[in-house]
Every structure is written in C-alpha cells, then in structure tokens.
C-alpha cells in the first residue's frame, strides 16, 4: 500500500509555530550542477520536505518549515553538500508540546 502521494507535509507543518529569521537561513546547500546522491536522498528523508528539486534539476532548500531534527546534517554535511547550523537564539521552530 503506497500512501505517500496523499500525504501533504505542508498541512502537518501548518500546526507548528515558527519564528522565521528572514534572510538568514541556518542551513544552506552548496552550489552544484548535478546533485550528489546525498542531496537527492534529502528530497525524501527530510521530514519537513524542506528540500525540493528546481527546474534545472538542482536541489534547493527552504528552511522556513524546518523542524530542526538534524537528519540532513547526518546525511549530507560530511560530503560538504550542505552547511548546517542551529538557528540564531530564539528563532526557528517553537514547540508547544515537543
């Protein structure tokens, strides 16, 4: 049974509270022409679906919905594909329940 297509992550993220640090993303993707296998893995593995493929076939990140789990760091930081930090103090996801 494959249910993925019906799952809308955006709807899940809508429940959460965020304080977005506009213009200062805490995770960035290194410029590339062809994405590495690690970057491609993030398209599926990121639980907030922050990583998307653009029209040129490159992986892009939008950190606004990031829930700061660190999965992308574990997968793609060792290869230098991404730069990963914590958001500045007070910014990012603000869990009500956690």
């Amino acid at each position: 049974m494959n249910v993925e297509p019906s799952v809308r992550v955006e709807d899940k993220l809508y429940y959460n509270r965020y304080l977005v640090d506009v213009g200062r993303p805490h995770v960035t993707v290194r410029a590339h022409t062809t994405p590495s296998p690690q970057l491609l893995a993030l398209l599926k593995a990121c639980p907030a679906r922050c990583y998307e493929l653009n029209d040129n076939g490159q992986v892009e990140i939008t950190v606004d919905g990031c829930i700061e789990c660190g999965t992308c760091r574990v997968i793609a930081e060792p290869t230098g594909d991404i730069k990963w930090s914590h958001p500045r103090g007070g910014y990012g996801v603000l869990f009500k329940f956690g």
Binding site: V3, G70, R73
Partner: protein, 435 residues
C-alpha cells in the same frame, strides 16, 4: 553582556542540561545555563515517558509540582503486519501506587517547570542564546563559550555539553565525531487531541492511569524501526522512527510512514476524530555502547544524547540523560570541593562514576544489539512479524483443517522463509546479543 566568570557553563536545557545545572547549583556553584529556544523546553522533543526514580534523585517532591500527564499502569508490545498485530500486554494494579514508577509527560511543559527549579536553585538561565563555539586557551583547554549575542564570549572553569543529539560544539571542536546515519534514528511524531473521556474509554483507563504501546513490524517496511502510541490526559502522542541510514537507502518518507502507521486497522480507531496540534521530528541515538564518544577532557564533559547515551532496546533515553547530567555535576562538584583544576585527569571521575551506574551497565549489556537489528532488519522487522501473524491466525481461525495439518503448515512457512539454519542462527544471534 555578562562580564562575570562562572564556575560552570551548561550548554542546553534538556533533561541532561537541567539535571547538571540543578545539581551544580545545589552544590553552591556559580552556574550559567545557555539555551537557544525562547524558553527551556521549546526545542525539546520526546515521546515522552518520565522515569520517576531518576527524577526523584534530582527533585524528590516532583510529583506534587511537575506537570505530569498519566502514570503508566499498562505496557503493550505489538508486533505488526499490514492488517494485524500480535500483542503482549502487561497491566498491573501494582502500578497504581503512591509513588508511581513511570509517567507520560509533555516535554515542552515539563521542561519549562524543570527549568524553574534550576533557577530556584540559583543557576542563571539565559534563553534565546545559541552557543556558536567553544573557547580554548593556548594549552588547548576549553575555557568558555562564544554565543550569537554581541560580545558573547563567556568564561568558566568547566563547560558541560548537554547540547543534544545534534550538538555542534563538540563535533566542531573535534571532541567527538558527528553521528553517522547508521547510529541515529529519525522519529516523527504528532500530537492528537481528544476529550479526556474518549481517551480513557479507548484505552481502558480510569482517572490518571496511562498506557503506552510500542509497535514494531511491517510498519517500518523492513527497516530498523519502531512505532509508539502514548496516552496523555487529553492527547495521544503517536510517532514512528527508523534509522537514518535506512531512510537514505530506501527512499521511504518519514511522513509517509507515519500516515501509514496511523491508517493501520489496529491504530486508526484509537485516534479517530482527533485534532492534530503539532508535528515534530527528532533524532534518537541508536548506536549504543559502541557509539559512546570520549566523555571528558580538559575543561569539558559531555552528557545525555550528545554522548549517545540512549538505550534503544528499552526505549530509555531521558533517564540516562538526567542521570549522566547529575553524575557529571557531582563529579565536577567533588573536583571543585578539593580545590583542584578541571583537567581531564580530574574529570575522569565523571566517567568512573558513570561506569558504575546503570547507564553504562545497561548499554554494555546490549552492546551487540544495534548491529544485529540493523544488519538483520529484514528478518526482525518484516519476515518474522508476518510469519508470526500468519501462525496465530492459523491457530485461532476455525475452518475444519485438522490441527496437526495446521501446525505442519505453520512450521513449513517458517522453514521456507528462513530455513532451519537461518532460524537457528537468528535465535542464537538474538540470544547472544540480549545476554
């Protein structure tokens, strides 16, 4: 911002950090705790179960004050295939005791309260402050931290790294390796709200009684993973986690797996009609004993998830966190009371004390389990759950087939799937890793 010098700086306000800050403050030390969230708890994610014994050692009267959800009277283990579950339930009225043993909690709320106790004990707690770097002297000793606040360099005799599973400071400073995809699991979780009476009816509970369900099987689609369902007072925490290496390898999505788990015929009725109010994700250290890094050095110690202190088999983490935080703090207080410097040689005391505690003893017991579960995940999380489900269905379904033939069919299905050597090998491997 802060001109002062501290006896100790604690980075992070989770279970380990709060336990460390509280204990050192109670010993009369001048403690600064730094937390990047807007309040202590706002970045913390857990199932969550609180273990009373370890909490009592920190705050004996916590039951009267802390925001607790339900005390657990029942534990259910479910082995699931796509349409069924084989369950082992343990419920006892013994757990309805004066000082209950385990509680469900909501971490953001509990940690906020825990932090208030840290402040009461005299520690300075500074939130909305991300520590960006450790500061070293010319002997390479850790002597403080740099933060993202202006003029944010602060000095202390010792830094307690309670920075969680994603702790950047320790890895950036080369004190320990970054977690690898095969020693951390990614768990995703939703909070499902329902009227209190509905939860009590669906889970067969009265008053503040609670229940947890731990589930494994085909829900993780052959990956090393677990699902969980915890009953709180007015909500249900429901989630599922798998090794990051498995997500990477298979291309399964965490939210797809979560929704699949929610739609399972054994799960869906429990959460029917609920209102979801939060979606969270978190990494869980799963590497066990063999993944524990160097725990101390000149001017620093590492505690909790940052030190990979998590018992994946028993699903215990927060108690190992708070115990390691407390023990590190006690070791530091001892060194300080002897008026000795916070060198690696003196802070070895922390490791020695931790080795003597249940934290390291338990992790040592299961040191081979993570590898076994990972390398044989197809068998333990897919093949066996399916076989056992079929065997039990065969056992309970009455259809005129003679029992002897039923038993033969069941045995045949096991041998066909795993072969005699495979079955024997799996049993031996499991027994050896458990021992």
């Amino acid at each position: 911002m802060i001109e002062e010098r501290f006896d100790a700086i604690v980075v992070g306000a989770g279970m380990a950090g709060n336990a460390a800050a509280l204990t050192m403050a109670k010993h009369g030390m001048n403690v600064l705790q730094l937390e990047r969230g807007e309040y202590s708890g706002s970045k913390n994610v857990q199932g969550a179960i609180l273990y009373a014994d370890m909490m009592e050692k920190l705050i004996p009267e916590f039951r009267e004050e802390a925001p607790l959800e339900r005390h657990l009277v029942e534990q259910r283990f479910w082995m699931m295939d796509d349409r069924s579950h084989v369950g082992m339930h343990y419920r006892s009225d013994d757990f309805n005791e004066e000082r209950p043993n385990r509680y469900t909690i909501i971490r953001a709320q509990f940690d906020k309260w825990f932090s208030s106790k840290v402040r009461e004990a005299g520690a300075t707690v500074l939130c909305e402050t991300t520590v960006t770097e450790l500061v070293r002297d010319h002997h390479e000793r850790i002597v403080g931290v740099r933060t993202d606040r202006r003029d944010g360099e602060i000095h202390a005799d010792v830094v307690v790294l309670a920075e969680g599973v994603n702790g950047l400071l320790g890895t950036r400073a080369g004190l320990r390796p970054r977690p690898t995809p095969d020693n951390v699991a990614l768990a995703v979780k939703e909070m499902h709200f329902l009227p209190r009476e509905t939860i009590e009816a669906r889970f067969n509970l009265k008053g503040d009684e609670g229940v947890v369900i731990e589930a494994a099987g085909t829900i993780s689609r052959g990956m090393t993973g677990m699902g969980f369902i915890y009953a709180n007072k007015e909500c249900i925490s429901l989630g599922i986690g798998c090794l990051v290496a498995d997500f990477q390898r298979t291309g399964q999505t965490p939210y797809g797996m979560l929704d699949h788990f929610k739609q399972h015929p054994s799960v869906a009725p429990l959460i029917a009609g609920s209102e979801v109010k939060e979606y969270a994700a978190h990494l869980i250290p799963e590497g066990g004993y063999k993944a524990i890094p160097q725990l101390y050095g000149d001017g620093w110690v590492v505690v909790g998830d940052a030190a990979q202190l998590n018992n994946a088999i028993h699903r215990e983490g927060s108690n190992l966190a708070m115990t390691s935080g407390r023990i590190a703090a006690e070791a530091i207080a001892q060194v300080k009371s002897r008026r000795e410097p916070m060198t690696a040689k003196n802070l070895l005391l922390y490791k020695e004390m931790l080795d003597e505690s249940f934290v390291i003893k338990d992790l040592k017991k299961y040191k081979d389990m993570p590898t076994l579960m990972h390398t044989h995940s197809q068998n333990f999380f897919l093949t066996y759950p399916q076989l056992i489900s079929k065997a039990l269905q065969n056992f309970v379904r009455v259809d005129g087939t003679p029992k002897v033939e039923k038993e033969k069919a069941t045995l045949k299905s096991f041998v066909k799937a795993r072969s005699w050597t495979g079955l024997f090998g799996d049993a031996c491997r499991f027994a050896r890793a458990w021992r």
